[in-house]
Symmetry: C2
Subunit: 123 residues, 2 copies
DNA sequence: AGGCCAGTGATAATAGATTATCATTAAGGG
DNA sequence: CCCTTAATGATAATCTATTATCACTGGCCT
């Protein structure tokens, strides 16, 4: 049986409010607003379960920090801000795969990572 | 003073032979062919020094494993093979940055990561 | 309302990557 | 060739992220 706990609700709500990929620490900070006392172990447990249920997807970022986000469905990439360190979704792709993949290689998927400063940090 | 040790030579030679980005463990395996007894600490020490001297550059890959490569100079990206786990350089870019960056955001740099199977692993 | 047990929280344990320590080795100037 | 000392190798230590443990709590079925 799977229970609908306050903790799990708070975690999912954090993603709905943030509207961007979140790291474990960010999820913890946001969800603790709704659910004081929430512990890291619970975050990890629920993340694993939610990813298994396809309610969240993993975004592997360089540097070893895994981010999680709601499955939007459409093809998109990510923008990492050097100022606030937040990661934002970027709609669309802009990648021309033709003539990029070496001869004999088989392309399965791709990631585009943009780095710079977000709206707030650009000023 | 900076000494031209056999260890440092073996490390740089590994990159020249491999002609692709290498992880610490790969560098160790390759360089030990020229320099038996070479230890990990020496790899890390030299990598740090070589990156400081711009003789190597760091490639941060998702998953937290850092790769190193010779500074080729030209703009390129990387292809990660799901079969042999090796990473290869891919010349060119193919990314149309226009209309990709959100309003107000400032783009500083970008990375394109391709995943699939290399020539050998495609067969 | 009562009770079972999945889920939780605090913390210890684990895992993997990188760094520090220190006795020993060897690069290279004189 | 000798001597200074930077660099090395083995290993312990550290650091960070994640998982396991276990007593306790609260969701939810009856």
């Amino acid at each position: 049986m799977e229970r609908n706990t306050q903790q799990r609700q708070a975690i999912l709500k954090a993603f709905e409010i943030a509207e961007r990929p979140l790291a474990v620490q960010e999820i913890l900070d946001l969800a603790q607003g709704d659910c004081p006392g929430l512990g890291v172990a619970t975050i990890y447990r629920n993340l694993k379960a939610l990813v298994g249920d396809k309610k969240l997807i993993v975004v592997d970022m360089p540097g070893g920090v895994a981010l999680y986000e709601l499955p939007g469905g459409h093809h998109h990439h990510h923008f990492s801000c050097n100022g606030c360190q937040k990661v934002f979704d970027v709609d669309g792709c802009g990648l021309n795969v033709k003539n990029l993949v070496p001869n004999g290689f088989t392309l399965k998927r791709h990631e585009v990572l943009l780095y710079g400063f977000c709206d707030s940090c650009s000023r």
